[in-house]
């Protein structure tokens, strides 16, 4: 109950400050199992992604969040686990970092991941880490939906204390699939290109 209220307040504050409307360009919201993968520029990305999904998808869609930030204090922990239904992962740990992600997918639920693994100051995504490839291989029935987040590198860059009120939007593209003959590098490059392609379709004035 409290988590739900905090969530609504958080999404409303995010909407007031940075907008974050969803633009469903290549697919529609659906309850089918999906792995949404997006470019990563700020800690707001996770909140914007959850806020962009319709409410009925939020309970079964889990953003993957770095434990060193979202698990660092009781407030972050509460927001990550209770409000955003996040899966926390250890970065650079000895354990298999994908294990908690596989657990979620095995239950038939959906994920939001940021395959670059870290935030970037650029508006376009950098090289992807291998995680997305392994998940795509192990869970071929899950739809892989590219998402391009606009303007967040400017609204709340790494190291900033306050978010600036610059409007962002979440552009959802057409799902992609791992082809039978495709190797890791080729797939990851294609996945990255699918997000960059969404940035090309973006028209100024439509992201407000």
């Amino acid at each position: 109950m409290i988590a739900k209220l905090v969530g609504e307040a958080l999404f409303a504050a995010a909407r007031f400050l940075v907008g974050g409307q969803a633009r469903w360009r290549g697919c529609e919201p659906a309850t089918t199992q999906r792995i949404y993968f997006a470019n990563h520029a700020s800690h707001m990305d996770t909140i914007i992604m959850c806020g962009a999904l319709p409410g009925y998808l939020r309970t079964t869609t889990h953003p993957v969040a770095a434990a060193d930030y979202w698990g660092s204090g009781p407030v972050q922990r509460f927001v990550a686990l209770k409000v955003l239904n996040a899966v926390l992962v250890e970065r650079g740990g000895a354990k298999d970092p994908l294990a908690p992600l596989r657990e979620v997918l095995e239950q038939g639920e959906s994920l939001i991941i940021f395959p670059e693994g870290t935030r970037r100051a650029e508006s376009l995504p950098g090289a992807f880490k291998a995680g997305l490839y392994h998940l795509a291989k192990d869970f071929p029935e899950a739809e892989l939906v590219p998402v391009y987040l606009t303007n967040l590198a400017r609204a709340y860059p790494k190291g900033a204390i306050l978010p600036a009120p610059i409007s962002s939007a979440a552009h959802f593209g057409a799902p992609i699939q791992l082809e039978d003959s495709e190797d890791k590098a080729a797939f990851l490059a294609r996945a990255q290109a699918s997000i960059i392609a969404l940035s090309g379709e973006e028209l100024p004035g439509e992201n407000a």
Binding site: G19, A121, R154, P157, A164, S167
Partner: protein, 318 residues
Amino acid sequence: MPDLNLTIEPVMATLFGGVFALLLVASSIGFVLSKRVTSEGGIATVANLNQRIKAWWLMIAIFAVAFVFGKGVTVVLFALTSFFVLREFLSITPTRAEDHTATIAAFYLFIPLQYWLIYSDWQSLFSILIPVWAFLLLPLLAVLKGETTDFLARSAKIQWGMMLGVYCISHAPALLLLDIPGYSDNFLLLFFLITVVQLSDVLQYVFGKLFGKHKVAPRVSPAKTWEGLIGGGFSAAAIGAALFWITPFAPWEAALLALTIVLAGFAGGLVLSAVKRSLGAKDWGTMIEGHGGALDRMDSVSFSAPVFFHLVNYFFVL
């Protein structure tokens, strides 16, 4: 002078009654048109017209609240307007992550400060806060990040947004701090400005739709026609002249000032349309249904408010 009297003065009641009646007529016309018009292009035009009228009701309601509650609320409402306009401007104007500190200072320091100066009657600092202090401080905040790519362009974008969205627009509520001998209803000056500038927009649109043939600047703003400008502009100026009794002006002065407001507003629309097109956008945003973004409605105000403010300040303030 923080005044919180909740009484509506008779003049104000008459004026808002007039606006109310006008909108009622507009809504009725819109309703009749929506039943009558059957051609495809006509239906789209009428739907757009009705959306605009609906948004007008909302804006007038907000304005009425501001006028009833006095200076504080008026200043806050204009500060919010500046906030949304600057947000729209910077959202489609590319800057870099390194401009974040400057952007933060623009939104959270200079907007509140500029409007606080109006509230506290500090006219000398109000006039230079953004052209001098923000102009010098914002590029300094950006340069400390050490990124030189597009530095001049990035600094100029932020300063332009500040000037248009904050500095220029703040001259509308700043009318409240002008000290005009024998005249104390400065709210009515603000009413005069906003009424003339917005009626000019509406009437130019209507005249343009009805009689528009010769485009003023086809590449910059295809919707602006000479017929719209002359028909709508003179009608708005005439209405402004007819409102002389709420101002400290003689009828001919009111007519000239109204005409100046119309021309400055037209110039604002033209210049901001060029800025918008240079960024590849049609509307500044999607905030107001049928009107595009907040800046699509405030472009004319951003040019006419400072011009009107300074003419009144020069000729009517001792």
